[in-house]
Symmetry: C2
Subunit: 377 residues, 2 copies
Amino acid sequence: MNEKIARFLAERRVETPFLVVDLDVVEENYQALRAALPDAKIFYAVKANPAPQILQRLNSLGSNFDTASVVEIQDALAAGATPDCISYGNTIKKQSDIAKAHALGVDLFAFDSEAELAKIAESAPGARVFCRILTSGEGADWPLSRKFGCEPEMAFDLLVKAADMGVVPYGISFHVGSQQRDPLQWDAAIATCAKLFQDLEHRGIMLRMVNLGGGFPTRYMKDMPTPADYGQAIADSMRNHFGNRIPETIIEPGRGMVGNAGVIESEVVLISRKSASETKRWVYLDIGKFGGLAETMDEAIKYPLTFDRDLTAEGEAVVLAGPTCDSADVLYEKEEYKLPLDLAIGDRVRIGSTGAYTTTYSAVAFNGFKPLASYYI
Amino acid sequence: MNEKIARFLAERRVETPFLVVDLDVVEENYQALRAALPDAKIFYAVKANPAPQILQRLNSLGSNFDTASVVEIQDALAAGATPDCISYGNTIKKQSDIAKAHALGVDLFAFDSEAELAKIAESAPGARVFCRILTSGEGADWPLSRKFGCEPEMAFDLLVKAADMGVVPYGISFHVGSQQRDPLQWDAAIATCAKLFQDLEHRGIMLRMVNLGGGFPTRYMKDMPTPADYGQAIADSMRNHFGNRIPETIIEPGRGMVGNAGVIESEVVLISRKSASETKRWVYLDIGKFGGLAETMDEAIKYPLTFDRDLTAEGEAVVLAGPTCDSADVLYEKEEYKLPLDLAIGDRVRIGSTGAYTTTYSAVAFNGFKPLASYYI
């Protein structure tokens, strides 16, 4: 945890649970990604954390915005972004929402099916469209299903049709899976993009953009490759597959932009054992799966924990759980978190790298608990 | 779907997604449980759906309330309940929340550990306490972890201690797991309770109550045993194990009280295939895992689907997914939902038996989508 957040936590004893985000860390992440991928346009994935303070800071730095809904488009505009800096990157949009986005000036839309393309052509005539292709998601910590993207052959057919339908076939996008640990995972998808560019050129369609998606990881428990590692791997791959005709590129970092900028402070509500002879303690926090830590689903994301006072006793394995009356509200049971034996009820537990996918994931009122509060400093 | 809800959906074309709950069905469920378990006091599990309209209706019928937080206690009081009708059934409570509940007049508290008992003794002196014991959860559709309850030997020790600590050792509770398909699952736990009653009596401690918990199912896709079946099995079991000294009993239905009273109406946003040759369609609704259908986690709860117009084409297997940009927002992929081939974008899909565990589970703003709206008729 950095000094600025440490000072906030020490000086302000805010009621737990809450998230605090250091906007300067967001800025550092932005600059690191800029430096690592100097040729790529950055579209921040607003869904990771749509706080106005984050959007304003990123807008002031020149960031673009990848949005999932009309509300997120409005949020980006409210933060000062101009419509040409906004992509409507959700491949699943209501016709009425496409029309609203178009009326707001948004001109760049994702799709991965003929029906979606038809909706865009009808409600956003003349817009630029990019087609998302399927990838395997290998090497990613957050599961990547087949929910988004189509097979490349279908992408080819649809991009050919796009021009006839009155929209601009602009590019191809893919996503290598969130919290992607392997920089080389971009390569296969970039090769497919290059092939599609070539095949479409033979049909007289000149694509201009490759959307490299997100997937850039944040640091949780283990060290990760740096943005520079990803930048190098991607640059090499682009050169390999596109030669000296490298198109415009876009990246959509979400977790990689805000993940490590935030810390959640929570409180230990209860520590117990299930029987006198059981060695494993159960530690219950005042935040759980439904209060913002949804990404602990199947223990996918493993957050680092620290404490508000020096604990000196030996660490011993615990089960970590949330405060609701729901049996499924258990954070870590398979992953062995070893917490000090002198951890006590009332201690504050700091959950690191929680800037992304926490505030908005929070349940609106499950068990009567309030959504996660947040502070931006 | 009953006629009252069908009329509401036909006459009011409300913006989707939303939940509509028929309060008369809640009342019928209450009466059916009353009739099935005439000797048990009903404590409605507020967490299943805390809508004021539901709490008011149940209060007018004489229901008691099982609560998970101070907010739920306040909700029950606001609906007209008196504090003696309220149980604070969460075994994980902040000391300050116990004090608040006690100040509001609540006198009945759950615990399953020494630390929690100590908190209650300090902040709610003189209160009645019941100890939750572990059960296996076999036969339940919603996973029951070891999160709640302790081994019976520990329950014995703690109930002995309770009296010395200035609270009233009042009873024992257990939970057989939510959406419990097997009425006989109560028997083993009731046997354990009877043994504990006896053992504690030898130590001079006279317990007075067995809290049979919830678990009473609602009808989703398949027929379920009726409340009468559960009532009979429980009555037989109580007689078998307690003989002619049957204690006071409590039940805590949540899902069984409101599940089948509600229908969510959603809209088909997109229907697509991943390639020209793929037979499986993807059907995307405007509600998903993060918009209220959290119980589709691991496809645990399988909701029945109907449509707003007559669809006559053959049914064919689909993957059903939600509208967010999250790969994990897939509702059913393993379970083969077969939807008619003439289902079209814009059709309204009615998701049945969604009165429980939907509105409050909804994410506060994930992807910019609003929490689930709801109507009570």
